[in-house]
């Protein structure tokens, strides 16, 4: 055998001529293998490895002696010099995972080579190969057709293997459905469909599976989202297999499609407005995902199922594959609906570009073309596979097969923003997308930044109809992005916003962006950055305000006391000493101090906190230290609910120019239990904060507060669970070990301790859950009050209620529902009976109804 081995970084070409008669399989094999023992197994190297192995095996059986003296303490791979089973499995994995990547050989020859290697390894590694192939079907959907072709080739060479693979896939499908992994289940079904194209599965049996899927729409008393999933799965497979299925079973397929049509017509879409990024239909309607897909499939049908975008390697192997025997899918009944099933939420297709936006080069496929669907699916899959590795992710996106026929940069930018703006939450955390876009700009410096700039400009133009939460994310993305590019932007292009009222979306957006830019730099930088005409939008200089510093305020009550307190703090007074000093502060709320001076005294809080924050203003750390040092004083002053509210008011008074400081101090106060979550909620909705109500920082504080509450509940629930498990284990262990008499006494004690702990934790959980419910109820209540007030005022004044303020407020309410829908669903009864009753204004009630529609 003559094998050419050409591979960097080993310069030159190794031509290994291995005459059959003098192949020294012992030492020779070891030497050759040791060259290739690197952590990253390139595809070619691995193919060579396997070819050598199987060649050697054909010559002689591997000696058992070889396997026994490895396993040298599990050292690094570099030490292994023999082909242990584990190493072979790693290489198999690597081979299979890497096929289809950039290679000097063609995809077809790589597939051919790989099929040969796997076929040869079936006797020894069949179950491992089966598991790997099932896994890539589930986890690498963007390479679907590469792997179906591989399976097709294997099936052609080994019919039984094909059958076993199909069975394994069906088992896996059942398990993913049971485990609520609905996205992965779609990939599995799509894989099975493409196996029809590869002559592994007979088309009629696939149609039969589809018929079972579609029959779900006849089920009664099931959530609409269950039917949605089955319909979506069938439709989303048609771009791959529609042609083949129609050729074999057009009557049945037509019947299926007409059933789906009926379902889609009667399906309710009350949830749609809640999930749209833009509320306007121009320039691109934000369609419900099933509606869009249906239109795409209709168009595909009209085009007689001609689909030219999907890469189909199996076409090159048609002569081989059509000789293969096909398998029938076993009859597949969709598992029945269970109460704990969590079906995917409905979604809206995000569109921001069309063919008019890419000025030169290939044309962007239309919004109802199936190509658009396939491209978007694949790009989303790539991000889902590679989100941890931003450089790889960017490279994979940019090397999308068929990229020369489409304006790839536009598709990528659209898909990324689609994920960033997805409601309720993006698939990955926001910063993933910022950094991914930066990597993409690095790889395509001549083209991608321009597309990004164009996208930003477009989104600025459409701010008026953009969902408030999406605007928040846009603000955060844009400011962070700019901070990586010296804040360079043509601000003058946005001068149109200067003539508008500051509460309107455009000037508000610019103002918030500049505020975030300042947080990432410093005030003067922003002043120097924007044209002088933008001065109204520049954030305030983040300095504190302490009224007791101003001499002209020396007639204020508490002015003299502030100096005393300040001196005391500077002289390292303790909390106790401070409290003593503060006893002399008069209480403006009462004529006499009936409760001995310990009740709510707003002046005490004012004097102490203003002075303290003043002294600690230098940095966050200084302020945190100050709060920690005088924790006792603060706890005493804020024992009552009014105290908690007032401390927040005072904090705001001091730091109103530095919202970032307010946010971190509120966070610290919650964590150190100086204030509670409900107090923060009440403060945000109070009259004092009305003028800042639409500012981003206020909502970041509220969202963060709810998050802390949720995390707190989760943490205690986890502690309870762990304790319960511990008790169970303990009791099991004792049962198993026998010896009951001796153990009984200490057992009771041990058990007793744990049981006590469990009881305490149970109480803690209940109390935390009650606090959590209370928080949500307070928030909803305040929303309803504010919105109702506004609506009534507008009605009586005969003005349009749909102001910028109203849009902001109602969309924030929507977002709270969306972000915490799992928790809120526990409170449905209370919400319906107490808050979202029929007497409510229908605009507010609509939000609640849309929320309920999400899981119906």
């Amino acid at each position: 055998a003559s094998i050419e081995f050409r591979s960097p970084p080993y310069c030159g070409v190794f031509v290994v001529w291995v005459p059959k008669c003098c192949w020294l399989y012992g030492h020779g094999l070891v030497t050759l293998l040791s060259i290739k023992n690197t952590a990253k197994q390139t595809f070619q190297r691995n193919i060579l490895f396997f070819q050598l192995i199987s060649f050697a095996r054909n010559r002689k059986k591997m000696s058992r002696r070889r396997h026994s003296d490895e396993n040298d303490g599990g050292q690094s791979h570099k030490r292994r010099r023999t082909s242990e089973p584990i190493e072979i499995e790693d290489r198999l994995e690597s081979l299979i995972c890497r096929v289809g990547e950039k290679s000097t050989s063609s995809l077809e020859s790589n597939l051919e080579g790989l099929a040969g290697v796997l076929e040869a390894d079936l006797p020894n590694y069949k179950s491992k190969i089966l598991r790997i192939l099932c896994a890539v079907a589930r986890l690498l959907p963007e390479k679907l057709t590469v792997y179906t072709t591989l399976v097709g080739l294997l099936n052609a060479r080994n019919y039984n293997f094909g059958g076993e693979f199909v069975e394994a896939m069906i088992r896996q499908l059942k398990e993913t459905l049971k485990s609520n992994l609905y996205t992965e289940a779609v990939y599995l079904v799509r894989f099975l469909c493409d196996l029809v194209n590869c002559h592994v599965i007979a088309a009629p049996s696939m149609v039969a599976m589809f018929e079972n899927f579609v029959s779900v729409i006849q089920e009664e008393d099931v959530p609409q989202v269950r039917c949605d999933w089955y319909v979506y799965t069938v439709l989303s497979c048609l771009p791959w297999v529609g042609k083949e299925l129609y050729e074999k079973k057009d009557v049945e397929m037509d019947r299926l499609l007409s059933q789906i049509d009926g379902f889609l017509k009667r399906r309710q879409k009350r949830h749609l407005p809640m999930l749209q990024v833009w509320t306007a239909d121009k320039p691109h309607p934000q369609e419900e995902y099933l509606d869009c897909l249906w239109a795409q499939i209709q168009k595909l049908k009209k085009d007689r199922w001609q689909e030219r975008h999907i890469l189909r390697p199996y076409i090159a192997f048609d002569s081989v594959l059509c000789e293969a025997l096909q398998h029938n899918l076993p009859p597949f009944t969709p598992p029945p609906h269970m109460d704990d099933a969590v079906y995917p939420m409905p979604r809206v297709v995000f569109r921001m570009f069309d063919y008019t936006d890419a000025p030169e080069g290939p044309v962007m496929p239309g919004s109802h073309s199936v190509e658009r669907f396939v491209i978007e699916e694949n790009l989303h899959c790539i991000i889902k596979s590679h989100w941890r590795e931003r450089k790889t992710c960017a490279a994979q996106l940019l090397s999308y097969p068929g990229k020369n026929k489409i304006p790839l940069n536009y598709h990528i930018v659209e898909v990324i923003f689609g994920e960033l703006f997805q409601l309720p939450t993006p698939p990955q955390i926001d910063v993933t997308y910022t950094t991914l876009l930066i990597e993409l700009c690095k790889l395509q410096p001549g083209s991608l930044p321009q597309v990004l700039a164009q996208a930003t400009e477009m989104m600025y133009m459409r701010l008026d109809t953009m969902n408030t939460t999406c605007i928040d994310r846009l603000i955060n993305w844009f400011s962070h992005h700019l901070s990586n590019f010296q804040f360079r932007w043509s601000w003058d292009d946005w001068a149109d916003c200067l003539t508008q009222d500051l509460e309107k979306p455009k000037p508000k957006f610019v103002k918030e962006v500049l505020e975030k830019c300042m947080r990432l730099s410093y005030h003067q930088r922003i002043v120097d950055l924007v044209p002088p005409t933008f001065s109204a939008l520049i954030p305030a200089n983040p300095i504190y305000v302490c009224k007791y510093n101003d001499e002209s305020n020396n007639t204020l009550p508490g002015f003299a006391m502030a100096i005393t307190v300040s001196d005391a703090i500077k002289n390292r007074a303790t909390s106790e000493e401070i409290l003593t000093v503060l006893k002399d502060v008069p209480n403006p709320n009462q004529e006499e101090d009936d409760d001995g001076g310990d009740g709510f005294n707003p002046l005490k809080i004012d004097v102490f906190l203003q002075t303290l924050l003043n002294l600690a203003a230098k940095s966050f750390s200084h302020s945190f230290s100050a709060l920690a040092k005088f924790h006792e004083v603060l706890k005493t002053l804020t024992e009552s609910d009014e105290g908690k509210l007032h401390i927040l008011r005072v904090l705001y008074e001091v730091w109103k120019n530095h919202p970032q400081m307010i946010a971190v101090l509120v966070d610290k106060m919650i964590r150190t239990q100086i204030v509670d979550c409900a107090a923060v909620a009440n403060w945000i909705f109070s009259v004092d904060m009305a003028h800042d109500f639409t500012r981003l920082y206020v909502w970041e504080i509220l969202y963060s507060t709810i998050r802390k509450m949720n995390k707190h509940v989760q943490k205690i629930q986890k502690e309870l669970e762990t304790s319960k498990e511990k008790l169970e284990k303990q009791q099991l262990k004792r049962k198993d070990s026998g010896d009951e008499e001796d153990m009984e006494k200490s057992a009771d004690e041990e058990d007793g301790q744990l049981e006590e702990q469990i009881e305490r934790l149970q109480e803690k959980v209940e109390s935390a859950q009650s606090e959590q419910k209370n928080l949500f109820l307070v928030i909803f209540q305040r929303f309803i009050m504010m919105l109702t007030e506004h609506l009534v005022r507008c009605e009586t004044g005969s003005v349009d209620f749909n102001t910028a303020w109203y849009k902001n407020c109602i969309e924030r309410l929507q977002q709270i529902f969306l972000m915490h829908h799992v928790i809120i669903q526990q409170y449905m009864g209370t919400l319906e009976n107490l808050l979202f009753t029929a007497e409510l204004d229908h605009h507010i009630l609509a939000v609640y109804q849309q929320f309920c529609a999400l899981q119906l």
């Binding site: 790693d90 994995e93 690597s94 995972c97 890497r98 598991r131 790997i132 099932c134 896994a135 890539v136 986890l139 690498l140 896996q172 398990e175 993913t176 485990s179 596979s385 941890r388 590795e389 931003r390 790889t392 955390i429 926001d430 910063v431 993933t432 910022t434 950094t435 930066i438 955060n476 962070h480 901070s483 990586n484 010296q486 975030k516 947080r519 990432l520 730099s521 410093y522 940095s619 966050f620 750390s621 970032q660 400081m661 971190v664 966070d667 963060s704």
Partner: protein, 161 residues
Amino acid sequence: MSIQLNALFSDSYVDISQYRDQHFKGNRYDQEKFLKQSNTLYVGNLSFYTTEEQVHELFSKSGDVKRIVIGLDKVKKTACGFCFVEYYNRADAENAMRYINGTRLDDRIIRTDWDAGFKEGRQFGRGKSGGQVRDEYRQDYDPARGGYGKLTQLQRVPQGL
């Protein structure tokens, strides 16, 4: 069912680096264990003028920040271009390694690395002059980090003499 495909679960941004703190109290094995469980990141190549507020704003993008300790010149007690960022949980710190490491703060590419955990004393530079070791020997001019490296400063002929 869920087979872990090692080839697919690369997470290289989260791997620990080659750096080991020479002042760490414990053996190599312990240090590595701490690094692999840590919620704390070392952040380097900061400008001397970067504030705690800026660091907080940036690193909050991957999760709630528990504490920031700004690195100080041992002699001058002023910021000397590094800091520690501690998160409440590891997942948030991992996301910072994936998405904030290698991006810019104050126009400088910053670098994050796992830290075994902040201990009092570790906030000071270990260079002879009081700042970071790297600022002792570097030869380039970096206005955001005190100009030339300390050694270079001593070697340069003072102007106007």
